[in-house]
């Protein structure tokens, strides 16, 4: 965990608040820095990453966990691609533990997890599918994602559960692009588990040019 964050918001090349429940995307140039702020706390942001000049190379949660031999994403984690290249590096982080094992919520999985009455509630994979469509991609291109600010401890027994977030209001995570990379976020709309404190809220994203 590190809160070391030297960038001045006044010099950001992009500064935007992502409303609750909606998707967002942007191509980061190599060396650019993205700072994501959990404005109200306990708000999961589901994230996908693609090599900007070749979308078939994309984030691999399994390779990332194996290479760092740890179940959680935190400061220093290199998010690896399906070809073993570093897409982005987590360079600062206020909450110390982000998930990449539990995937993104979907209408269909919600029916299994929470009951058939939840089928017609908004979900991250709806956001991802719409946002990826802008880049010529589809549901087939959704791979396992990172869940920033989402707390999913995996116990030695194997137990895996989404529990109350440890991200405080104003908490943040900072990423540096190791290559030109398409970043796709879904500001998670889930209300059936604690990943958003049961109340989805906005987040803020800032981007700085390469140093």
């Amino acid at each position: 965990m590190s809160t070391d964050f030297p960038f001045d918001p006044a010099t950001a090349i992009h500064d935007e608040t992502i409303a609750a429940r909606v998707p967002w995307s942007r191509v980061l140039q190599q060396g650019e820095v993205l700072h994501l702020i959990d404005l109200e706390g306990q708000q999961a942001v589901d994230a996908l990453f693609y090599r900007a000049d070749h979308f078939e190379e994309r984030y691999s949660a399994q390779d990332t966990l194996r290479a760092q031999n740890s179940a959680y994403v935190t400061t220093g984690t290199k998010l690896l691609s399906t070809e073993g290249n570093v897409l982005v590096t987590v360079i600062a982080d206020s909450c110390g533990r982000h998930d990449t094992s539990a995937g993104a919520c979907s209408c269909e999985a919600n029916t299994v997890r929470f009951g058939h009455h939840t089928r017609f509630m908004h979900a991250c994979r709806e956001n991802f599918t719409l946002e990826l469509g802008k880049y010529g991609m589809s549901k087939r291109d959704i791979v396992s994602n990172v869940n920033f600010f989402m707390n999913v401890p995996i116990e030695p027994s194997g137990e895996l559960a989404i529990v109350d977030g440890i991200s405080a209001p104003g908490g943040s995570v900072t990423l540096k692009a190791d290559m030109d990379v398409l970043v796709v976020f879904s500001n998670c709309p889930q209300v059936n588990n604690p990943c958003n404190g049961f109340t989805p809220s906005p987040v803020r994203v800032l981007v700085w040019a390469a140093a």
């Binding site: 194996r66 959680y72 094992s101 539990a102 209300v191 109340t199």
Partner: protein
Amino acid sequence: MTLLDSSTPEQHRARYEELKRNAQSRLGRSVPRAEHDVAEITDIVRKETIPDGWYWTTRIARGQRLRIVNPTGRATVSALIWNAADTSERYNAGDTVKIQWNALLGKGDLLFSDMGRVLASIVEDSGTGHDFLLGASTQATNAARYGAGLLRNTRDNFCLAVAKLGLQRRDIGPCISFFAPIKIDTEGAFAWKDDAIKPGDFVELRAEMDLIIVLSNCPHPLDPRTDYAPGSVDAIVWQGPPTPADDLCRTASEEAVRGFENTDALFAGE
């Protein structure tokens, strides 16, 4: 627009905590395990011996079984699974562990697609332990473990297999690695459980819809042994007995019941 869910945050939390308690009460439940007996396998549909380092693809019809046998006790078999009728529906690692509240799955557990449906049930399993989190070998992990050389790896096997199926690299999602006994400590670090695999270990899947499966027989990247010698594995597709109403997998949990309700709806009227 219709407000489809008017529950309060407190009501949502209460519902979630109840589901979590129910899942915790099931965790660690022991299931009876069978020995692998080739004689009990009748109605073999097809069979292949997959040499070490190689891959195999097969179709499996709904209701048929795939038994994977590990004669040496040294092999790991990594798998990708698609709905044969629509390959945009495929194995989803996140949903599989999240729905079942468990990352160390085995007999009695289910493999879920991204569409809230059950692709396959793990109907038998000699208890080795399998990996649902860390993926499989690549050229880089082989080089790190075994040094320079042209040893085969699962990433390349998957790329070759999907090409021959008319699929693309983007159809390769996270995989399952059978016979990969990993453990995780309280800090989240992973390690290999030595001596957990025995010669003759096996796992058996029952297809819950028509499937396409790729199997890759390459050592797991956490397997600490420095000689690349997994030996061959046997893959047997067979008809198997009909699924009873009180089937272990179909009745494993309320989540399992709902997953099968979604799956069976695909076949309503058949």
